[in-house]
């Protein structure tokens, strides 16, 4: 069953792209971070990272479900039956989890960017999305507090923690802003009041928001995306490996009901 919600076809196409991008971001970072289950540096972090990963995959499921209401597809099929090249997650979440400092650096950059993006959808005229976003923002508060606590701890842990953290931020710098890769049909989404402001404005707001803490901890603030045109389409070998992992069970028996 599809619900058209009275949307203009062009707006609807843009909205589908937005939902897919957000769902894929949450899905891919959720799977990477779930790899810490059992091997996090501390038992408490084993629990925390598993819980955060479960939240993110849950958010992805909700976005895929909303997308499924628009395009008539089964949310599981959207998540698991696409080839790797059809994923639209950003380069920031494409990187493998690497070490703990890398995971924390990526989590912090992603959570702060996601918070700006979610805020720009809080009053969306697409009411089902605004409702879901209101709920997700309350949960993300915990993720942001977790990432910020660890960013500070590592930045102050000299020499090894800080060295690893700074190295991770440098690797991620060219890709951090890809969360805000402009979407096809973005002007339509803004005109329809679905997205409050264009991605470029959100990226500026995000970078400005990083400044106080990054200045205090003397950490390098990432610049603009190195190649904005491929921000959501250039996937690396790491992601192809992850894709093989997260589709493995589904591919054992694609029609099984769990």
């Amino acid at each position: 069953m599809t619900l058209d919600h009275g949307l203009d076809p062009q707006v609807r196409e843009g909205l589908e792209g937005l939902l897919l991008a957000m769902a894929d971001d949450e899905f891919v970072i959720g799977y990477w971070d779930s790899e810490w289950t059992g091997i996090a540096p501390l038992l408490e972090e084993d629990v925390a990272m598993s819980s955060i990963a479960q939240d993110e995959i849950g958010h992805a499921r909700a976005f895929y479900s909303l997308l499924g209401e628009l395009n008539g597809r089964d949310p599981d099929a959207i998540a698991y039956d696409r080839p790797p090249d059809a994923f639209r997650h950003c380069r920031l979440v494409d990187h493998p989890r690497t070490d703990w400092a890398f995971t924390i650096a990526r989590r912090y950059l992603y959570e702060t960017a996601d918070a700006v993006r979610l805020a720009a959808l809080a009053d969306s005229t697409f009411v089902p999305l605004a409702g879901l976003v209101a709920k997700i923002r309350r949960e993300e508060t915990y993720h942001l507090a977790h990432a910020e606590g660890w960013l500070r701890r590592l930045a102050e842990a000299r020499p090894e923690g800080r060295t690893r953290l700074v190295a991770a931020l440098r690797v991620l710098a060219p890709d951090a802003a890809t969360v805000f890769t402009p979407l096809a049909g973005e002007p339509d989404l803004v005109a329809a009041g679905i997205l409050e402001r264009p991605s470029a404005a959100l990226a500026d707001e995000w970078r400005l928001g990083l400044q106080p803490l990054f200045d205090e901890l003397r950490l390098p603030i990432p610049g603009p995306a190195a190649d904005p045109s491929t921000g959501r389409t250039a996937h690396g070998d790491g992601f192809r490996w992850l894709w093989g992992e997260f589709t493995a069970v589904r591919n054992l028996d694609p029609v099984a009901t769990w």
Binding site: E44, V47, A48, S50, S51, I52, Q54, D55, E56, I57, G58, H59, R61, A62, P128, G131, L132, A134, K135, I136, R138, E139, T141, Y142, A145, H146
Partner: protein, 169 residues
């Protein structure tokens, strides 16, 4: 011999439905019912049709399907033959402030500190849950995350008991 199937109609009222839902435990914390947890958003009874809308406590809660099935099964017992629809909605966000006073007491008695009021805004300060065993406020949060998405972990400095709290959200 002619066999006749008599479709029994739902004689249930809205009040009956709410009362029946008060018997349905939360799948992850069975000490509290779905009504006291505040997840029942709306009950509509129209002729033979009963519609119930539920608010997810957490978007990614893996117990949602179990909760939906438990609600549907209970309503089938209440009104056999009724056309029952149970769905989830994000029409308003579930927050831990929706837990009823009775629900909070049930949580405490079963060893879970009830959530502090005010939802997740409280994260500005480190939340000090009240120990569900001895009532002390001299507790510390050990982990904002726990064995399920809705629980955090704490330690009481007075009775030296680790305990869990329902997260404010």
């Amino acid at each position: 011999m002619v066999s006749v199937t008599v479709a029994r109609t739902a004689a249930a009222t809205t009040e009956d439905v709410w009362a029946a839902l008060a018997d349905v435990p939360d799948p992850e914390i069975p000490a509290i019912s779905v009504v006291d947890l505040g997840v029942v958003h709306r009950v509509v009874v129209e002729g033979p049709r009963i519609s119930v809308e539920l608010l997810p406590t957490f978007v990614g809660c893996p117990a949602l399907d179990v909760m939906r099935d438990a609600v549907r099964d209970r309503l089938r017992d209440l009104a056999p033959g009724a056309d029952i629809a149970v769905s989830f909605t994000f029409a308003e966000p579930w927050t831990s402030d929706r837990i009823t006073p009775l629900g909070r007491e049930h949580l405490r008695v079963s060893g879970f500190a009830p959530p502090l009021p005010g939802g997740a805004q409280l994260l500005q300060v480190v939340p000090r849950a009240t120990c569900p065993y001895c009532g002390s406020r001299r507790t510390r949060q050990e982990n904002a995350f726990g064995p399920t998405l809705c629980r955090s972990q704490h330690y009481c400095a007075d009775c030296r008991q680790p305990f869990e709290a329902f997260k404010p959200v």
